[in-house]
Amino acid sequence: MSDYDVATQYGTGRKTIRAYVTGLVLSLVLTFLAFGLVEMSGVPQNLAFIGLTTLAVLQLITQVVFFLRMNASKEGQWNLMPFIFILFIILILVFGTLWIMYNLNYNNMMS
């Protein structure tokens, strides 16, 4: 057991310098792209929102894959499944709230 690969325990992918450097570089690029998108004048508002959302989701995936080292291996699925479940809950929570509050606001203005 002495040569047991500790860097891959707990169902995570192997933690290597290469993975962390890739994660850092991708995160930096995505952060600066998002920042540049806002600083750049003349980008239509709705396009900017779509762009920022896309960049944030890509950044999420980057950090989950390269920093948390989540993966779809047999062991890794134990971590991955609750994660996907929570993402689903968050979507319901946030969009459900916005939907209800928008309707409340709209109906109150009518009265």
């Binding site: 057991m1 325990q9 995160s27 929102f49 920093f67």
Partner: protein, 203 residues
């Protein structure tokens, strides 16, 4: 996890230890995910209230984006250096673990100091949490994240002390794994804070 059951019943001591750890770490992962729900509710609150400024300036006029970009870079760098500490831990290089953890601590501390400085300025200029619903939701959301980072720093200080004082034992390796999950998670929450509160607020 299936292996856990198998080896526990076989009663192999070494296996037993490692696999109990795996269940503990999974439990900590569940905690992290429940913390995600906390942040989701605060994000939802912010999304609903961020325009209700009660006649005050809109949030976009109060932020300095390059300043917040600086905060982001500090936190991102600290997530990276934490990873290097983990790799040093796997290599059983205790001195390097302490070194990388200290650097991570300093980067995290810079982030918190910058954030507190931003809060103090906002408050001093009359844009405190009591000014409007928008400011309340802003301070609750960003402040809760800042509080998490601050507690993470306290935790990290204790861990640095432990690693410096004692050997890198399996127990220590497990603690470092917990803190690593927590730290990377806070970086991920910050991506959404930076994007939704600051960047989208400025569009």
């Amino acid at each position: 996890m299936e292996n856990t059951m198998k080896s526990v019943s076989q009663g192999e001591h070494h296996h037993h230890h490692h696999n109990t750890d795996a269940v503990d770490v999974f439990g900590f992962w569940i905690y992290i995910l429940s913390d995600c729900i906390l942040f989701a509710t605060l994000f939802a609150g912010y999304a609903v209230l961020h325009n209700n400024t009660f006649g005050g300036p809109s949030l976009r006029e109060l932020f300095s984006l390059p300043y917040v970009l600086g905060e982001t870079l500090f936190l991102l760098a600290s997530s990276f250096t934490y990873g290097l500490a983990m790799i040093a831990m796997y290599g059983k290089k205790r001195g390097q673990v302490v070194g990388w953890l200290c650097l991570t601590f300093l980067l995290g501390l810079s982030f918190v100091v910058m954030e507190v400085n931003e809060f103090v300025h906002l408050y001093a200029e009359g844009h405190g949490w009591q000014a409007s619903a928008a400011m309340s939701s802003f301070f609750t959301l960003v402040g809760t994240h800042g509080l998490h980072v601050s507690l993470g720093l306290l935790w990290m200080a204790i861990t640095i002390f432990q690693v410096a004082r004692y050997e890198v034992t399996p127990a220590m390796s497990r603690r470092l794994t917990y803190l690593g999950l927590f730290w990377h998670f806070l970086d991920i929450v910050w991506i959404f804070l930076f994007t939704i509160v600051y960047l989208m607020g400025a569009v």
